[in-house]
């Protein structure tokens, strides 16, 4: 819904202001400002005006296990990402090694989160764009089966979180050293048949989105993700990039930095050379696709579109669908191999120093860094979510894409710009949904 859509006179006869009051289907509050002069975009800004949430301050003075509960509250859609990144950071710093069954359970949790998050985005947030519809509600009226398919997948992902994590939103089972409780085999067995169905639904999702027509758009960005030698990256691996970066997950600051940008309450991240970079499903497939589950690899191959993922961000919907196959198929394998841990957690002792780690949230690489004192109390924290890392790439891609829509009717032009923004699945927060888009055009055609 675009309340206030329309063209209004700006400061002069040759300036036009495009204003969209509301963009739904993104998480959080933000505003896009585009300034166009002589068909050239001279300014593209995604301003996040979501109120600062102070999580990095809230965790100061807290113990590691308290931190894990607190950071889960950063996002209702990807709480596991925040929890697991913190867990791994502390375990890495304290020299904690968990048993393989605990590691498998954590990976199963992450699969559940990827399933519910990707299903939400593909079906309810992004698919309406490709079908020229204003919302998932309209999509449901047009094709009920498609939306039911998405909701079913999302439910199965949530069910995994509920069984392994204790509840579907802000799960409570994770702790430093393992889990508070490991489910019995019988509890997980309830999910088994559902995961057979989920794999089929995910494969159908790939076929569905492969048929979506995407705008022509090519922008080659620096891609960054984790890569692991034995598995598709989720909670472990090294930070790699399309230009040859190869770092331990603790060493994110060696390659990237955050900076304050005027007009936004989120920090932007760039490489130390000032380059924007892209995280998320397309980057993961490009950099770590060799480790895809065979079913996911086949699903991607069958589309014949793998070559477009790295350059056309509108194809990110396909990458996300392929990762749905990855997460459902791997979750099923994990269930089949499950052995209940002998003990759900191992004891640990705090050690002073730096606790840092990166994992792959559904939207991309998530980095945490904590300074911990002798008692294990956090004294300083830095959390770098994927959306703040993608923000510079979003702006750069908007600037590159905008000229192609300037000759379109206003409503269609803005719809396409919003569509582009949603390609990154921006998770500005899990709070209100509001993005205000304005486009100033001066010196260009009316």
């Amino acid at each position: 819904m675009h309340a206030g859509d329309g063209v209004a006179a700006g400061g002069g006869a040759d300036e036009r202001v495009y204003h969209v009051e509301e963009l739904t289907r993104v998480e959080g509050e933000g505003r896009l400002h585009l300034r166009v002069r002589d068909r050239e975009v001279v300014e593209a800004r995604l301003n996040i005006f979501e109120a600062p949430r102070y999580f990095e301050r809230l965790v100061v003075g807290r113990t590691p296990d308290e931190v894990i509960d607190i950071v889960a509250r950063i996002c209702g859609i990807c709480p596991i990402a925040y929890q697991l990144t913190a867990v791994h950071a502390f375990e890495s710093a304290f020299g904690v090694t968990v048993d393989p069954p605990v590691r498998a359970l954590r990976r199963l949790l992450y699969c559940g989160e990827w399933i519910e998050s990707h299903a939400l985005h593909v079906y309810l947030l992004h698919a309406p764009d490709f079908l020229g519809l204003p919302s998932a509600v309209e999509l449901a009226k047009l094709d009920r089966g498609v939306v039911e398919q998405g909701l079913r997948l999302k439910r199965i992902g949530n069910d995994i979180l509920a069984v392994v994590g204790g509840r579907p939103i802000h799960p409570v089972s994770l702790r430093v050293g393992g889990l508070y409780r490991a489910p019995r085999r019988e509890e997980l067995a309830k999910l088994r048949a559902d995961l057979d169905e989920a794999v089929e639904l995910a494969q159908a999702t790939v076929r569905l989105v492969a048929g979506f027509e995407a705008p022509e758009f090519e922008a080659r960005r620096l891609l960054v993700s984790l890569r692991h030698p034995d598995e598709y990256p989720m909670n472990e691996g090294r930070i790699v990039s399309s230009d040859g970066l190869d770092l331990a997950p603790q060493d994110w600051p060696l390659a990237f930095r955050e900076e304050q940008v005027e007009g936004t309450s989120a920090l932007h991240a760039r490489t130390h050379a000032g380059e924007a970079y892209l995280l998320g499903p397309s980057a993961r497939l490009e950099l770590a696709g060799a480790a895809l589950h065979p079913l996911a690899a086949r699903a991607l191959d069958d589309t014949g579109q793998a070559g477009e993922l790295a350059t056309n961000v509108f194809r990110s919907v396909l990458a996300r669908a392929v990762e749905l196959v990855q997460a459902t198929a791997e979750a099923r394998d994990l269930l089949d191999a499950y052995e209940r841990p002998r003990v759900p957690s191992v004891p640990w002792r705090p050690a002073p120093g730096i606790a840092a780690w990166a994992t792959e949230a559904p939207r991309g690489l998530l980095f945490h860094r904590y300074e911990v004192d002798e008692a294990g109390i956090v004294r300083r924290a830095t959390i770098v979510p994927p959306t703040s890392q993608n923000q510079a790439a979003i702006e750069a891609d908007l600037a590159r894409f905008a000229p192609s829509v300037l000759d379109l009717p206003h409503a269609e032009a803005t719809r396409r710009l919003e569509w582009l923004i949603r390609c990154y699945d921006p998770c500005i927060s899990c709070a209100a949904h509001f993005l205000d888009l304005s486009l100033d055009r001066d010196g260009g055609p009316a």
Binding site: L151, A162, G166, V172
Partner: protein, 157 residues
Amino acid sequence: MSTAWTILACGDASRGDDGAAIAALERLPRDVAAMAVVHRVGMLEPGDLVAATRGGSCVVLDAVRGIEPGSVVALPVTGLAALDAPAPASSHALPLEVVIGLAEALGADLDSATFIGIGGADFGLGHGLSEAVRAALDRYASRIAWSILEEDAPRCA
């Protein structure tokens, strides 16, 4: 009994007053409880409403924010999408108006769905029910029972 009833109890018993709906189920008279199929759904999803209203009536229970703790409110489920409606405490990820819109588009008969909520005071993890909610649980349960019995009672033409 003439109507097939489904109770959708939203919330999380480990999160303070978010567990009010689940606690209220235990206070329902046995004969009333026997009239309904109960699903503990955590957070409300469109599919829950579709299934629950298929050929029957449905009561959605949840703790709400924005009203006096312990006070009980009942309204049609479709009324929850209004801006000034009480906000259920358990709805995440999909905004409630989207859940309701999707449910309708997917065939839910929301005319037969009633929301009964209780104002919560504290949704803290591990806190248990607040005094205000604990004291009002019987009133909440009786409102739920009344809704089912009243709707189910034979009426003169």
